[in-house]
Assembly symmetry: none
Homo-oligomer: 224 residues x 2
Amino acid sequence: MGSVLLIEDDDRIRLSLSMALEDEGYTAHAVATAEEGLEAQRNDPADTVLVDLMLPGMDGFECIRQLRRVDDVPIIVVSARDDTHDIVAGLEAGADDYIVKPVAVKELAARLRALRRRARAVAPAVSVAAFGDLEILPEAGEVRLHGEPVAVTRTEFRLLCELAEHPGQVLSRQQLLQRVWGYEIGDERLVDVHVGRLRHKIEDVPGAPRHLVTVRGLGYKLQR
Amino acid sequence: MGSVLLIEDDDRIRLSLSMALEDEGYTAHAVATAEEGLEAQRNDPADTVLVDLMLPGMDGFECIRQLRRVDDVPIIVVSARDDTHDIVAGLEAGADDYIVKPVAVKELAARLRALRRRARAVAPAVSVAAFGDLEILPEAGEVRLHGEPVAVTRTEFRLLCELAEHPGQVLSRQQLLQRVWGYEIGDERLVDVHVGRLRHKIEDVPGAPRHLVTVRGLGYKLQR
DNA sequence: GGCCGTATGACAGTCGGGTGACAAACCCCG
DNA sequence: CGGGGTTTGTCACCCGACTGTCATACGGCC
């Protein structure tokens, strides 16, 4: 549904907030320092960031400014400091919202939803994942090969998206069954069949998989 | 620089806030009731709205919902009620932010800036959308095919507009039900029927959808 | 060569979407 | 207020596409 990066140095708050976020259905990734947060956002961007202002090392203000350089991710400040001066400074640094601790989880959740609603409306940025001459347009529900649309079924599309979200990384049949089909257990051959069908559509030279590669004994991966 | 619509029934607050807003460089238009506010937004849309929750007649929550029907203008609630329940309700009704009175003008200004920054990138509602030989004129409430006007019913028109606002993007039946009909839940087949009717009118070759495309398992999209 | 893991083709059941019919709701006039 | 036409939402049916299963063929690796 959505991923949230939480940057907060207080262990207790970090833990309880990230649990609350998971309860709300988000995938939460929690770190304790600004540096770790920036690192995380660069490697595996979350689509919302919660950040504390008082952090060891690089402080929250600077962290926000740096995050803004990485991408246009929505940012909410979660801070114990409640005076106008701090709120203004946080927002001016580039945050979208500011919540004062102690946090009412319900309010946080509502503000998150509001912000995400707004950010989504603004950026119909059709994200495109490209693997050589293979493009995946999740928003459009479309796959293109050499710029030409390819007819792909829903399951194939989800499978492809799942693989595309972890480029170059091997995903086991188990993981794919779980993430694409929602099966906890099931016949792993099922994955093979769909991979085969997908290959026929997106690999132009039959029998020479260039993007969708089998890793014997482990699973499949999508590479450039 | 920017215009703000202020909906607030308390004379003193209305006056002082609108002066503060003008000081910040905004063009402020202040009204005392939700009804006046909606009227104003319909006739001469401001690009941000501040609204109080406790209003005579139609209350703030309903006002927000109605505003959302008019356009996607950024909305900030300004209210004396500070409990979580109200904040959540305000945001869920469609507001983007919530400030508790008494208002620190500096904070209000900063939140306004943050929200406008976020909302700025929004694509201005195009007055004419063209999809090949298909033109949509939202202002005129008209659809043309090969330059010839086509008779389209109100529902069909709204459906078409909704799709046209997200060119190339798949919209699920759920989303369409919600945005076109305002239904939170409902029979998804309803969408199919109207899409079918619309197709008959705007696709000249029957059975060969060129613009209004079905994406199996996902929804519909409008493409060039 | 034998074995294990993978590819592939065929098949039947299921699902999703298109469509025409129909009745209720609505609207415009007289 | 009433009547005819239009629009809207519901339903049932049909068809083709998709899915999961299975049996079999293939191919690398020890």
